[in-house]
Homo-oligomer: 311 residues x 2
């Protein structure tokens, strides 16, 4: 049944998203003794896979809800994704952003038509402000990663990859809030059961790695990583999916992320955000696990401050 839900979701979001290309590099294949297929969600509309989940979440709403709009709290890609998806569907998007968010990010959200409410830069005030906006406007709250419709939307990236490359034996995706890896795991489970799914996580924000080991949701103690999209915490909706369907999580160090990011720029000639490089870093680190395998990597996005590249 979930198989049909993902396929139906894909069909319904197709008019609002890009079918992103898959790239390869002879150099990286020879280096890793594997065949890696990079699913380029950096080429997605607004520059990240989050466009998929945001679009699906709005499409699942009834007309009455759509009239009232949607609300989320995010300082990152989901803020832009929900704004653009809402605009495409003629729906209002209220976006709660911390008052210390970079001005360019706030402007980008406004550029996509999002209605911004600033809040104090802590999770308690973010959630409270989002609740207030929801109460006063009637807008439906949509969580950036801990929402089943968002997860199913995200699953369509891996679905497209598996449709194009049915011989994949392992798919690797970065783990932040858990929305991408959960969707990826659902797609491999329903469309290619014998394909493994590996999460890749910066070791400095390894809540998912520790949660898998302990069997309960662990908290990050720092947010000290260049992979700014991966600082967020697992949630109660995506964690059970991750527990059930993914095979392992590989953690990587900051210098490994930077090296992988540089390799993607130099060899694939594409612009990705640091979070996207975490999956390649995991493959480079645990080369033996991937040797002679057909490997899919989900490159999550390309929204990066070019003046702050780490090389």
């Amino acid at each position: 049944m979930e198989k049909k839900i993902i396929l139906d979701c894909h069909k319904s979001i197709i008019p609002y998203i890009h079918h992103t290309p898959v790239l390869s590099s002879t150099f990286i294949n020879e280096l890793t003794n594997s065949k890696i297929f990079f699913k380029c969600e950096n080429f997605q509309r607004m520059g990240a896979f989050k466009m998929r989940g945001a679009t699906n979440a709005i499409l699942q709403l009834g007309n009455f809800q759509r009239e009232k709009g949607v609300v989320t709290h995010s300082s990152g890609n989901f803020a832009q994704a929900l704004s653009l998806a809402a605009k495409s569907l003629g729906v209002k998007a209220f976006i709660v952003m911390p008052n210390n968010a970079p001005k360019v990010k706030i402007e980008a959200v406004k550029g996509y038509g999002g209605i911004v409410t600033l809040c104090e830069p802590n999770i308690v005030d973010r959630e409270a402000t989002a609740r207030n906006v929801s109460t006063s406007t009637g807008a439906t709250f949509i969580h950036p990663s801990n929402d089943l419709d968002v997860i199913i939307g995200n699953a369509t990236a891996c679905l497209e990859l598996l449709e194009e490359y049915p011989n994949l034996e392992i798919v690797v995706a970065p783990v932040g809030g858990g929305g991408l890896i959960a969707g990826t795991a659902l797609s491999t489970h329903y469309f290619r059961k014998d394909c493994k799914v590996i999460g890749a996580e910066p070791s400095s924000v390894d809540d998912a790695y520790r949660s898998l080991k302990s069997g309960k949701i662990e908290k990050n103690e720092t947010t000290n990583t260049i992979a700014d999209g991966l600082k967020t915490q697992l949630g109660t909706i995506n964690f059970p999916i991750i527990q059930q369907y993914i095979n392992d999580i590989i953690t990587v160090e900051e210098n490994e992320i930077i090296n992988a990011m540089r390799m993607i720029y130099e060899r694939l000639k594409i612009v990705v955000e640091p979070s996207s490089a975490v999956a390649l870093a995991a493959v480079l680190k645990n080369e033996n696990d991937f040797r002679n395998k057909n490997v899919g990597i989900i490159l999550s996005g390309g929204n990066v401050d070019l003046s702050k590249l780490p090389f």
Copy 2:
């Protein structure tokens, strides 16, 4: 007849090159009030369109010549292109490079199998050294841009673009040594006569712009541009083609090149070298010439030193 030559060339080089993708950006289209189709030769093998001309030049040689190898002088993309093309075809490539060339470039050439001879960093010694290598080895000299087989090979980038987007009204390509713009002009002339061709050149190395005005090959007085691939001079083989078939050359300033380059990174999410950005800079500068038009831009390559990005 030339039409058939270009088509035959394309057929013969296909096994050795990538058919590169064409990308667009809604943002850039809205900004320029035009539809721009970017032909991404940064995704070409070894990272630049030069792979096309180098491959064709070697394929045109007889068996006796191929046994002796090929030789060129280049510190840039053609050195790598000829090395890789020669390797793919089982031919030796002798590459004359200035002794002040960055070590990474020399290593890249060697990595593709090129046999490097260093020379003094001036054109007189470059040419003399190449002649000496040719005499002592019997290798055939192949000029990076002033060679008809190279020009015809380069023409296949625009051919692919016109096959995929037959409605293009203008194609813009950067002008350096003249090999790319000459090939581009041949392809538009033979496959889409009513499509204009515009060259784009940094104003600090505007030898082609001045040569078009004066009717004879003018020399650059400085090589002071970030677009390091465009410092070279027009030649006697490509200049007549340029004179006959291109409509105009637009010159752009350094800050305009950097702005266009940043826009390509931010909006198309791809890595290009500064030379590639010159064509978009020309469109942004002379917006009125391109308004409401279907415009093709040849992005020449993506080999850039990431530690020296101008932003």
